[in-house]
């Protein structure tokens, strides 16, 4: 019995370790490749350690690699993404919080229908919105601009943020609101003084979720951006798929890591909240 148990433990730990290697291997390959020179890449293989560590590929990926005709590296794309992500996350989170508050604590006739309408937005394949959105952004002079991208991300992120906050606020006892109303507090006072101070966990989950989604987005980035508003994912894709020069895999890998770094840092610092967002989002799909 004990022997059999030990056998099972070995099987369990063995498969878990193999899985860990499987998930980590691409990261290892990306990192080691980014530190090699092209000569070393040609002579070695995927798993060989860099003998002559050099940061030249990182430098090139950041400031001088060519993405098509333009050769200023990923730097401008990176800052475009920052300029897009900050307002988009802030606005969609703020709207989501207020919507969630109304839909859970100030329900009115028809509010469930509004909730259902906003919720269904989560499931829609965004392809059906692309063409009309492109026309509309053009009409309002927001085509190929960062404000246009912010707008699209706010509209399409609203469903998730509203859902997150509503489901969290439903758990706050209604008695609390009633007591505050008896004391003469109104709609905004209750929100600012009672609800908001209790919202730190869900705020963290939502901000991290929205940040990761918007930073990683490629579809809206590639359709709605112009020459000087392209986000980092588009920059990376252009860089890695440029066919004009000899393939420099070390630069590609450094660029991929630069694009991944912000979300990886957030994940490492606040993984617990990231996972909570994933499983909360799972209910909605």
């Amino acid at each position: 019995m004990i022997e059999q148990n030990r056998f099972w433990r070995i099987v369990v730990y063995g498969s878990l370790l193999i899985a860990a290697v499987y998930y980590l291997l691409p990261l290892y390959v990306m990192f080691t490749t980014s530190l090699k020179g092209m000569e070393e890449i040609r002579n070695g293989n995927l798993l060989s350690l860099p003998l002559d560590i050099s940061l030249a590929a990182w430098q090139k990926a950041w400031s001088s690699a060519c993405t098509g005709v333009d050769c200023s590296g990923l730097q401008p794309y990176f800052w475009n993404s920052v300029l897009m992500v900050v307002p988009a996350v802030a606005i969609s989170t703020a709207l989501g919080a207020i919507n969630g508050y109304v839909l859970s604590k100030w329900q009115f006739r028809g509010s469930e229908i509004v909730f259902g309408m906003i919720l269904f937005g989560v499931f829609i394949p965004f392809q059906v919105l692309l063409l009309p959105m492109a026309q509309t952004l053009g009409l309002f002079g927001m085509a190929s601009s960062i404000p246009g991208l912010v707008f699209v991300h706010v509209v399409c992120g609203l469903a998730s943020t509203t859902l997150f906050f509503r489901n969290y606020y439903v758990g706050i006892p209604d008695e609390l609101i009633k007591a505050a109303r008896l004391d003469g507090a109104g709609f905004w006072r209750i929100f600012l003084r009672i609800i908001l101070p209790m919202s730190t966990p869900i705020l963290t989950v939502t901000v991290i979720w929205q940040f990761t989604q918007i930073w990683n987005d490629f579809l809206f980035g590639v359709v709605f951006s112009g020459l000087d508003s392209r986000p980092i994912t588009v920059g990376l894709n252009n860089l890695a798929n440029t066919t004009t020069s000899v393939k420099e895999y070390n630069v590609d890998m450094a660029a991929a890591l630069i694009a991944a770094l912000p979300t990886i840092i957030v994940y490492v610092l606040a993984g617990k909240y990231f996972v909570r967002g994933l499983t909360a989002g799972a209910v909605k799909g």
Partner: protein
């Protein structure tokens, strides 16, 4: 007296303020989601090419779509990709969840490792796997160095196999997600059921197969929905990994739609393909939501 006027004043504000506050989001989703779906639907019945042209074309865009070899390649690829990706991610994820549920040391570290790919953009994943799978310096070279001189691996540039490289990368990225969902489900199961079965002499694999996993049916279905949804929307990964190529051998409906609508000046055709994608998602989601809501009402 003054007290009643005050509460009446609040009554008015409280009646209208919530509606007023919700109005912007309501309008945004009404116009920019539902209005746009209708607009896109309208476009799919017009002659629009590079620019929108609202002359009616009847069903001709759909006829063109269903006559397009490229569209059927994309649909077939979605079938292959959907089945293998969902099946693979499900199998790996459930297996890892069960293994992690065996009171493991360092569970937190392992979970962190299994889930980090989800924080990455599909473009990053695609770029990384494109390098690893490239014939010449990637996996092929590694196996040559290890002594398998005749090993060839050209799936990335082979039209018959390019879609399978998308499956490989997508599984790597999303199987951890399945693990997280099932692990949460497993943690919700009462330990005493397992203990009772153990006392009856059932082996551990048998207990999981017969008792624990069947109890996770709801988790299974919601995971299935999410993965199917990811599969239908898959776009970034294909763009970064194969660009839909070689030729259009690894196109999916989402990349087909993008190519037609934004690079090849076939707006009407693109709109029609987007409507087909919406119809597919609706066919999956509506029955699911319906049964979810019904079971909730029953509770």
């Amino acid at each position: 007296m003054s007290h009643t006027t005050q509460s009446a004043h609040y009554g008015f504000a409280e009646r209208w303020l919530p509606r007023l506050v919700l109005a912007p989001s309501f309008l945004l989703s009404l116009v920019f989601i539902y209005g746009f779906i209708a607009w896109n639907g309208y476009l799919s019945f017009t002659r629009s090419r590079i620019l929108p042209n609202y002359e009616s074309a009847g069903l001709s865009q759909y006829e063109a779509l269903f006559a397009s070899e490229r569209w059927w390649t994309a649909v077939q690829n979605l079938g292959i990709f959907g089945v293998l990706f969902i099946g693979g991610a499900m199998a790996v994820g459930i297996f890892l969840a069960v293994m992690l549920d065996q009171k493991i040391r360092a569970e937190g570290v392992l979970r962190t490792i299994y889930l980090y790919p989800l924080a990455l953009s599909f473009i990053v994943t695609g770029t990384a796997w494109k390098w690893m799978l490239n014939p010449g310096l990637g996996l092929e070279k590694l196996l040559h160095d290890w002594g398998f001189a005749s090993f060839t691996f050209d799936w990335l540039v082979n039209p018959d196999y390019s879609i399978y490289t998308v499956v490989i990368a997508a599984m790597w990225q999303s199987s951890g997600f399945v693990m997280a969902l099932f692990l949460a489900g497993l943690r919700g199961i009462d330990d005493s059921i397992i203990k009772a079965a153990q006392i009856d002499g059932a082996s551990l694999p048998r207990i999981y197969w017969r008792i624990v996993l069947p109890a996770l049916r709801p988790v299974f279905f919601s995971t299935l929905m999410i993965l199917a949804h990811i599969a239908i929307k898959s776009f970034d990964l294909v763009m970064a990994l194969t660009g839909g190529g070689p030729g259009f051998s690894s196109d999916l409906p989402a990349t087909f739609m993008y190519q037609m609508a934004f690079t090849r000046g076939q707006m009407g055709l693109g709109a029609a393909s987007a409507m087909m994608m919406l119809a597919t998602v609706a066919a999956l989601v509506v029955p699911y939501l319906y049964s979810e809501l019904r079971s909730k009402r029953r509770d």
